[in-house]
């Protein structure tokens, strides 16, 4: 068993938020031990301050199921391990609010992601996916992240916002800066972050005001502009609303699309099975990819009262980190949990979209994009082979990649 040298005392204080665990892709054995031996553990010191770790599936669900005791509010620090309420970018987004304000805003956005609304996007998604795949080089290394994952997700988010098409290349960088919690309290990097985020907010504010002056349309900005529950937002709420939809639609699907290539390389037999029968297996392969990637590795809550959790005494005001990446590998729910199994019967129980009232609104769209990518790759008999070690993000929040060098062959039948 990995890490048996760690004493119980050390295990209880294990800091799984350390950036090097994520950039080196070495976090799995630490979480396996937490699940087995210390599923609710307290880390007294870290880059992000003290925090509780919740590592098992059922405990994560229990916390998410009690939103009154375990608050998401930005006023307590929000939904990530880094306390953002004292920075210039507080991200007062509705996922970082409790009810009733959370529910009011969520309900206003929901019509944009109903099955019928998403079905209207499916043809465009398939066309763009096919175009990008058909233009990839063969037998010459290229970066999958920048050649496939980023262009596809950027096009999608530009469509959802009806963002000017010729400006869409700005979206990934803005999204990355919104999601960069790994910089912590560093004043220089926070100033840099503020610069990019306020630039994003200024451009979106122009578009928002334009949409408000126009008749309602189906894009996200127009929906917000014409909704009573969004209405006149303060600047931090506006930034938060844009950031949530941008990061939610961008980084998460991007990193799942990138993670797909790792899974294909790790489980070539499963990929052959998917290619042989994509109609039956593509959706399961997409769900398994999202489960194993867990592109948002954690959500954070703050205790609003003293409470016992898994036999541990949590104090009012304590920070609780729900490690979805760990819950998604909990053997009690997902036997042989590290295996990419497109035929796994309970794969849809994964926690990558969260659980409870804050569950990801865009889950259905993420599944469609990834399923379409898999189907189109299968149709072209694509065999992406990773060259060298992927370069990963040094973040315990956005579990993803900077680069994955790939060579690829495909059929021309």
């Amino acid at each position: 068993m990995a890490n048996t040298a760690t004493s119980p005392e050390e295990l209880a204080r294990l800091d799984v938020s350390r950036a090097e665990l994520w950039s080196s892709n070495s976090w799995r054995p630490h979480f396996a031990r937490l699940r087995a031996e210390e599923p609710i553990s307290y880390c007294p010191e870290s880059f992000f301050g003290p925090y509780w770790s919740v590592a098992r599936y059922e405990d994560i669900v229990a916390v998410e199921d009690d939103a009154k005791t375990f608050s998401s509010s930005w006023e307590h620090g929000g939904i990530v391990i880094f306390d953002m309420q004292d920075t210039g970018v507080q991200l007062r987004m509705f996922i970082a609010m409790d009810d009733p304000e959370h529910n009011e805003k969520r309900r206003a956005i929901a019509p944009a992601v109903t099955p019928s609304a998403i079905a209207q996007l499916s043809a465009a998604i398939r066309q763009r996916t096919g175009d990008i795949l058909d233009n990839l080089p063969e037998d010459t290394p290229f970066d999958w992240v920048h050649s496939v994952s980023i262009p596809l997700t950027t096009a999608m988010i530009a469509t959802l916002f009806d963002f000017p098409w010729d400006e869409r290349d700005q979206l990934p960088a803005w999204s990355d800066w919104c999601a960069r919690i790994d910089i912590g309290p560093d004043p220089v990097l926070n100033a840099e972050r503020e610069k990019h985020v306020f630039e994003m907010a200024a451009r979106f504010r122009e578009l928002y005001d334009q949409r408000k002056a126009q008749p309602p349309k189906a894009d996200l900005l127009s929906i917000m502009a014409h909704s009573d529950s969004f209405g006149e937002m303060d600047e931090q709420r506006f930034i938060g609303a844009i950031a949530l939809l941008l990061v939610g639609g961008n980084d998460t699907t991007r990193n799942s699309m990138s993670g797909l290539v790792e899974r294909i390389n790790q489980f070539p037999d499963a990929w052959q099975a998917v290619k042989a029968d994509p109609k039956r297996l593509a959706a399961g392969a997409a769900t398994e990819t999202i489960r194993l990637q867990t592109p948002i590795a954690h959500m954070r809550r703050t205790a609003t009262r003293d409470v016992e959790l898994g036999g541990k005494a949590i104090r009012k005001g304590d920070k609780i980190v729900l490690w979805y990446n760990s819950g998604n590998r909990d053997e009690a729910v997902f036997p042989d949990g590290d295996r990419w199994d497109p035929e796994r019967d309970n794969s849809r129980r994964h926690l990558s979209f969260g659980y409870g009232i804050h569950r990801c609104l865009g889950a259905r769209l993420a599944e469609l994009q990834l399923t379409t990518l898999i189907e189109e790759m299968a149709r072209r008999d694509m065999e992406p082979r990773i060259v060298g070690e992927p370069k990963r993000l040094p973040s315990c929040f956005t579990n993803g990649y900077e680069h994955i060098s790939v060579t690829m062959s495909r059929s021309h039948g």
């Binding site: 669900v61 199921d65 929901a110 992601v113 109903t114 099955p115 019928s116 849809r348 129980r349 979209f353 659980y355 409870g356 009232i357 569950r359 609104l361 889950a363 259905r364």
Partner: protein, 58 residues
């Protein structure tokens, strides 16, 4: 004629429970609507999941 027992169905993504006896009148689903008689586009009122992510409670 045997008594019809109303059942409850739980959303596995958020914990919301659909109770056949209560329906969801505000969503156009009258009390007594059986699970299999729900409109195809009925989504979890709490998290938006579709019907494949529900399972019988008991």
């Amino acid at each position: 004629m045997g008594e019809v027992i109303a059942r409850r169905y739980r959303c596995l993504n958020c914990g919301y429970e659909y109770d056949e006896a209560e329906g969801r009148p505000e969503l156009g689903v009258p009390p007594g609507t059986a699970w299999q008689d729900l409109p195809e586009d009925f989504l979890c009122p709490q998290c938006g999941s579709d019907q494949r992510d529900f399972e019988p409670k008991d």
